[in-house]
Symmetry: C2
Subunit: 150 residues, 2 copies
Amino acid sequence: MLFRKAARQDVPSIVKLLANDKLGQLRENDTDPLPEAYYNAFEAINKDPNQELIVVESETGDLLGTLQLSFIQYLTYRGGIRAQIEAVRIREDVRGEGIGQKMIEWAIERARERKAHTVQLTTDKQRPDALRFYEKLGFIASHEGMKLHF
Amino acid sequence: MLFRKAARQDVPSIVKLLANDKLGQLRENDTDPLPEAYYNAFEAINKDPNQELIVVESETGDLLGTLQLSFIQYLTYRGGIRAQIEAVRIREDVRGEGIGQKMIEWAIERARERKAHTVQLTTDKQRPDALRFYEKLGFIASHEGMKLHF
């Protein structure tokens, strides 16, 4: 497995992964051609040194999964940085093979490299399997994740 | 009440607010002079157009509270931006006067201005009052907030 930063030409494949999901299908639009907003979003992410949109490839170059890692500077924790994981998706036909675990372990290692003091994420309470998955990897569900959608 | 972006000279007062808290006192260090790491963190926040470290002042120029608002670009939600609220603190002697509510309402309005589709935050399960406070303001505790501290 290869981890690398996503390139512009990966955007349609990533959006396909985001859309192929119980919750994602309600909010994404993976038409061809893709809405320009996705490319604009990619460019904003790509030029920001605190954002890493990651794709995971097989040895033969197939896209297996994606995640986004954001490094957020706060004054709290003595001026510390937090790494935040979001938009984790694994291609449907390769789920259950341990790819997700390798992806999160990779993200944790990357967070250490960038001197984050904490790795954090929120997971929808409608995904109980995800909760158990993250707990096994050492995450503690110490917080309520609250959202206000416009 | 006046809302404005924090300036470098506000950093000691902000850290004092962060440290004067059940959880914050365990992780902050509001010595005089303040550890340089806080100023370095401030500079990183201040130069980042996606970060807004906010202070709230009384009409007489007294610091009443602080919060940090981060605007995070994702591919999800059709290339949408989320506003994330963190490090909310209100000066101990002015709590219970509705300042917190005004601060969060301000942050929600600011998130709308910047075209975020969602405002999100996590709140420690050790703060049940905070959970009810945010629920009253329209936030839904739909997610588990998971942390892995190094």
